[in-house]
């Protein structure tokens, strides 16, 4: 496998996962990009830091796929910001992504820790 192909694989994996994380962050309420980044960082105990350079392209792609929609609103500190909100399609997508993620985790666990198998 060439270097480029490896690189592409990594991006793909990250991208898919990032989508799921973003959608999950938006599950409860609409929020802006900065808050999404904070939430992901906070919930992951500072392990997952979402780069701005990945977050915004991801948000705009999700919007183009109509998994989220956006509107401009004022924050509590009167700052104009773009709020993203999960759509019905987005919710469905999130559920699918979540399922796939769980399957993947189980499968990888089964490979990595065979002694844990019943």
């Amino acid at each position: 496998m060439s270097d480029t192909a490896k690189y592409q694989n990594r991006i793909e994996l990250l991208q898919g996962t990032l989508d799921m994380l973003v959608l999950q962050a938006l599950l409860r309420e609409p929020m802006h990009g900065y808050a999404i980044a904070q939430i992901i960082r906070g919930r992951s105990g500072d392990v997952l830091t979402v780069e701005t350079g990945s977050l915004y392209p991801a948000l705009h792609r999700l919007e183009r796929q109509r998994w989220v929609k956006s509107e401009w609103k004022l924050t509590e500190s009167k700052q104009r910001a773009k709020y993203y909100q999960l759509t019905a399609r987005g919710k469905k997508q999130l559920a699918e992504d979540h399922q796939r993620w769980l399957r993947l985790v189980r499968a990888i666990s089964a490979v990595m820790e065979p002694e844990m198998q019943p």
Binding site: H32, Y34, T52, G53, Y56, H60, Q79, K82
Partner: protein, 904 residues
Amino acid sequence: MMRWPWEQAKENLSEELDAHLQMAIAERVADGEDPAQARAAALRQLGNVPLIEDATRERWGWLWLENFLHDTRYALRQLRRAPAFTATALLTLAFGIGANLGVFQLLYAVVLAELPIPHPEDVVRIHAARTPFDQSWTVSYPAYQRLRAATPDVPMMATAYAEDATLELPNRAPIRGSCMLVSDNYFSGLGVVPAAGRLFVQTDERMGQDEWPVVLRHDFARTTFGTAQQALGQHIVINGRAFQVVGVTQQRFLGDVTGFPPDIWIPLALESTGAFAVPWDSLGPGYDVHLGKPWYNQPTIFWLSLTARIPPKRRAAVLAHWDQVFRSDREVMAEATADPAVKAALLRAKIGTAALSENGMRERFTVPLTLLMALSASIFLVGCLNLANLQLARLHARAHELSVSMALGANSGRLIRQIVLEDALLVTGGSVGAFVLGRTASSILVRWASSHNVLFAFDLHPNLPLAALGVGLMLLSLLSFSILPATLFIRTGAVQTAGSRAKVAGISQTARQRLRSNVLLSTQVSLSLLLSTMSGCFAATLVHWETIDVGMDREHVLIVRPELHQSRYTDHPEMLPRLYSRIQERLQALPGVRSAAVEMCGGIHCGWITALYVHGRNYLRDVQVHGQEDHVGLGFFSTLGIPILRGRDFSSSDTDRTQPVAILSRSYARQLFGDADPIGQWVGYEPAPHDQKFLVVGEAADARVNGAEREAPPVVYMDINQIPAPVNSIRVRAVGDPRQLAESVRQALREVDATLPVDEIVPLSTELDGDLGTEKLLARLAGIYASLTLLLVVIGFYGVMSSRTSRRRSEFGIRLALGATRRHIQLLILGQTARILLAGILPGALLSVFAVRTASHFLYGSTGASLLAVVVAGLILALAGCVAAFIPARRAAQADPSETLRLE
């Protein structure tokens, strides 16, 4: 002001990222950081904002459009910065593509197009039998009726072209229109639909109507009445008969004979009014032929062409049935010939069919138009080569800029795309010009191909094949002068080397690149030589026919066409000889007139086919010898400048009460009597014992009366004063230019007979050259092409040499500094030019000789003459190339050594 949709989106994105930054700062400040430090840290965390924006915008999916518009703006700016290249490219493309479109449209209309009717392949001409004299495929009206009645389910249409008719419209000057007589089922049988009103129905054939129906061709109706609707119901007088416009045909329908669209269609029954002159053939005198009476019940006058719609699978059965029905007509025709072999052949023959396209137009134009298409393709090719070369030179000039772009990280694909886009804009612009030019060109070509005698008209509406060709040529030109050169240039790394400082001694242009542009130039020279040679040969051919000895005084004779087919002349033919002699006397009294004479023939293609029997020649006893017949007045031979070789001319003592006499042309006399003296022999229209009608009194020299390019036919001349009839022309021989006599001749004729209309006055030379349409077309177009390619070669040499010398400027400076003379530098460049020219002229000459040989069918001239054309064309090209290269050479020689060294 107009805003692109993404401009708003872009601003929103900036604001979104800015909000992100502000919130990050606010949070850091809230956590107790110093505002300045917080800002710096937040910015660091945010990263490269433009890059993020770019990455985000890519997700929008219309970045390509934005890029495209951006590139387009940039391309337009680049093109504006190189106006000379832009103009050359636009004109080259417009001409190169336009010429091809123009010629193709004509080729399509003449050779490829089908009639715009449903199932045109089912419609065929019916070839029943060849008529005895004209050998045409016409039949009599009774035969048509019987054939049509025999197969009621097969539409069989009859048509006859009439001579051009005079249309009188209310409150307007009379106009002339071409006219066709058609059977009532003509339009319904073909499946033509009206654009307005109705087409013919059965009741239109009723005899003796007070007001006849007429159908107009769409474009004729439009030019005459404004619109098809406005033409409906109009009352017009055609050849003195009252008509009402009942319908207008669909626009694309131009009749069923390619090239000759009738302006008006009228019912067949109009023949019986005698107002329309229709070409005919018959069994000849003595077979119950009464031309003056209606033809619809005369089985021995042949005047109708038949067309039928029969599906191919039924064809054999229908034809077999018609053969039985037509049997009696064959027997009648067979009776009229004495030759047993001809008789047997006549009875044996079967009715056949022919495609509508077999009307001579295809035979006549396919090869010339294909030839023109090939010439047009070569001019397109020359244009593309030229542009490719200019493009390479231009890329070299931009090499520095391009290398900087690449160094800054532009990818080569994007650069190529950028260059190709520039050229795509050029191609688009050029093609718009080409389509306009092509349309104009094809109408001009039709006019050139037409002649004084034959005016063609074709359906020149844009069509799918034409559009396909246009788009194909566009893509081809783009590929050859843009995509290939740009890819070669950028991918082969020419840009990188150009970016370095290695400019001295022409290192910046590798030997291979130089060779490439040299080959392009040489190929251009070859093709240009080919076109020039062809043009020279076509011009020589035209000049040959225009100056060939026609056996007549072609430069000094005027043809005057009076309209004598009016009842006040035709009802009293015995009065005509006196009128003719008064006309002759009056005209000969005019200053500048040497002599004048009347003639039955109005122009070329006129002498009717006749057949003579010779008295007392047993071996010719049953054999008709065909020739052309013409009835002429006194002084005819001296007026035309045709010498009398033996015997005497007609004289005033030959009248309708004396022995009918005839004068034979040299070739007719030879056919009838061999080398024996024809004077005193007897000839007649009918076999013995009626073969003693005319006494041969003279033998005249041969003359090319059917046109300059046709051999002199055998002709028998009769004296019009012995058989008085309306003549179609008066010939006037002038001392100087006959054109200048036209007005005084008209005036003199008015003095003789104020009521005699004169249709037309043309010089004999115009008339004789009338059929040189194809030759004129080839000569003129090839001439234009040759000059265009010559121009392109000049531009090519100038462009390439300029670009080369400007790149070698420092080299020349150093050479001069080292002691080379300016003359030396000039010779260096001219030497290079000469090598390229030679490399182009040699293969070009071979190509030309080959082409001339292939086209020899259209060329008149010896091998020597065409070789001369090659040599002359080669010299002209060499001269043009050298002149074009001389200017850059001079400029190069003026390089200042000190300036060069300073630049280094």
